[in-house]
Symmetry: none
Subunit: 411 residues, 2 copies
């Protein structure tokens, strides 16, 4: 089954809101094996909506609309669809009662235009709105299906999951399950990753493997189609094993995780505490780690040592180190990691020093970073890094590299 998503609303075209509905619906449709080839956004304009519908009728079996079901004059989705499929609207008793109940409950007076929301496409299946007033609809005409959903995500999402999706599953001739799994990698570029697994990428048709680069990391989405979900999972596992044999060194987690979240989990699991001395990252590393709830037993704290004074007098870096090697040095990073560990009494200490840019510092180029990790009974390791990109990018990637090396240490 092929579907197309049409979001209706001029506020989307003006850039006032983002079309998050398309993503939500796509994710859930992919899961049940519905293919999506297009998303369209069209304004509150009858003629252009009509054109978008006519086009979608040619290329999809199911058209899902979000938005344009409200009480105002510019809401015209159901009117347009009804006309295009040669039918009319009629009042739905249940919806009318539910709208009246909503006004009674909130103590507000129902204005006449609200009744419009109880008008539904004749002979369509009405989808109840448990979080708002406008009901959804599911209609069939000429072998095509039309699902109309409200625009606000907090109304649309539960309506789709509770009432919309079951209707779609019901009419799908053959439920071909799509299972997918996302693998996340750090420390390798998209093209290098692709080069490593080129032959695997080329030969795959089911499962498919799609690389995606974003924000300093790369993900691979493995998607398998099969009637049996168990078989699909087995196919995915096989592809994953093959991929990780080549590039497992850079793999850090599945799905919607982040490298900081993975590190937090590892610290909890191993019952370890950490402290950080942050020069160029200025608090970002601990800021990300403390964003994760329940970490207070594992994060002792740290020092943001933006100046040499604070590096020396608060963290305890030796004056000679700073004068002899400078703040942007292996030696300084090493002491930052070791001293912060002592100062905060943690199992692990991490130190970040370097040049975020845009200007150079102490004769070093922007993107020059030293990252050191000190741990009980181990020699302190210093990782020198060279990064390109903006100040913001250098700082954020330094934090991720910190998480990456800590994860490697803890595995």
């Amino acid at each position: 089954m092929n579907a197309e998503i049409i979001a209706v609303g001029s506020e989307l075209l003006l850039g006032q809101i983002t079309n998050t509905n398309a993503r939500f619906l796509s994710q859930h449709l992919a899961e049940i094996g519905v293919n999506i080839y297009y998303h369209t956004v069209v304004g509150d304009n009858e003629q252009r909506l009509e054109e978008a519908v006519k086009l979608a009728q040619k290329r999809a079996d199911l058209i899902i609309f979000s938005g344009g079901l409200g009480p105002t004059k510019d809401d015209l989705t159901k009117e347009t669809i009804a006309r295009l499929i040669g039918t009319t609207l009629e009042y739905n008793e249940e919806a009318l009662v539910s709208i009246q109940a909503y006004f009674d409950k909130t103590g507000r007076v129902m204005t006449e235009n609200n009744k419009k929301q109880a008008l539904v496409i004749k002979d369509s299946k009405v989808l109840a709105n448990d979080n708002g007033m406008a009901p959804g609809m599911f209609a069939k005409s000429d072998g095509k299906y039309y699902m109309l959903l409200p625009g606000p995500p907090r109304e649309m999402q539960p309506m789709f999951l509770n009432y919309g999706r079951p209707e779609i599953l019901n009419v799908m001739e053959k439920v071909e399950r799509i299972e997918s799994r996302v693998l996340r990698f750090f420390g390798i570029g998209e093209s290098a990753l692709e080069t490593e697994i080129d032959d695997i990428l080329i030969k795959q048709t089911n499962p498919t493997i799609a690389p995606l680069a974003g924000d300093g990391e790369v993900t691979l989405r493995i998607t398998a189609k099969h009637e049996s979900p168990e078989e699909a999972v087995r196919m995915i596992q096989q592809a994953e094993d093959e991929i990780l044999e080549r590039v497992g060194h850079y793999f850090y987690g599945y799905g919607e995780t982040t490298i900081a979240a993975e590190l937090a989990g590892r610290l909890k699991e191993k019952q370890l505490t950490i402290a950080a001395a942050e020069s160029l990252t200025g608090g970002l590393f601990l800021g990300e780690l403390t964003a994760i709830p329940g970490m207070s037993a594992h994060i002792k704290g740290g020092v943001v040592c933006y100046t040499n004074e604070v590096k020396e007098h608060v963290v305890g870096v030796k004056k000679e180190t700073l004068t002899k090697y400078g703040a942007i040095s292996r030696e300084c990073a090493k002491e930052l990691a070791e001293k912060i560990r002592q100062l905060c009494g943690s199992d692990i200490g991490i130190g970040f020093t370097g040049v975020a840019g845009p200007a150079g510092l102490e004769g070093h180029e922007p993107g020059t970073v030293y990252l050191a990790i000190a741990a009980e009974g181990q020699e302190t390791i210093v990782h020198p890094l060279k990064m390109a990109g903006s100040r913001d990018g250098v700082r954020k990637r330094s934090v991720r590299y910190g998480c990456h090396y800590l994860l490697q240490l803890l595995s």
Copy 2:
């Protein structure tokens, strides 16, 4: 001028990412008076991309593409456009040099597929990518304009603003000047702000005034249309004066600024230094402030004091304070601000303590925050705050309140 936005990428259709590019571009195009009637999302599929382009050619003067410029085989935007407008791709020397430089700098080996990113549409204007490798393009053919932008927002956004938008302004036949100005407010809710200026909002047609709430703050966009830009600016100024007379207390800056950036500017202007002791914010405050370049002379540093041990032994909060009042207290916040100022030798010290949630702490509800500011020759001020919302929201708003009160102190 009518434009259409086509985002290219199967990851969008699979619901792996949200099409935030369409929103960004729409916002900025609306500002310069370009009408958008459709957004389209299409996968990494040549035939379907071709169909989407042919359709857009019929209905728009300018087609803006995002995505599909990367090094991998499934990136095919420029290849498809070149073919459709009857031209070819050629290597762009500058882009090739810049890609090679990127690899040299990061010390990584450039794989062959990266060279593909330097291929551009023949005779197109190349748009430099200051944050990545794939350059953008602006091409004209048969009276239609084509702008190709990369998919990752951190590459696309600056490219569009710095190089893309000027090209569009350049070719717009009739520039009906739209001038707009954004006023940013903190510490007042959207509905409260609207109530304060309700009569101003109602009476305005040109300039229009559009409030928008987002992320703990409110903005007002004042937009004036006039043939003379000077007159438009005068109209905007008049509206601004009227608004700020009522709610100027909450106003902190114009346009794309942030409250942290405004604070950074004020510290520079007044030649002052700051240090922070961060408990619940865990480094976020200094992380935001150090994100701004050139602040090293004004940020001494700070301590992330997630545990009582670190509050006491590193920052120097008295043991009695912690046992008698607890860490979530006015008294603790006050000492954090005063002691961090002494420890780091700064003009101003700020202390953050509180409960970010999701669970309560020491008998306090999530959202209970104490924020203190200590400055030379002034009595330390403690601001108690009560916030609703998620852990992430409480932490971020605490940082903003810190900036807000510091700005008030420094004005």
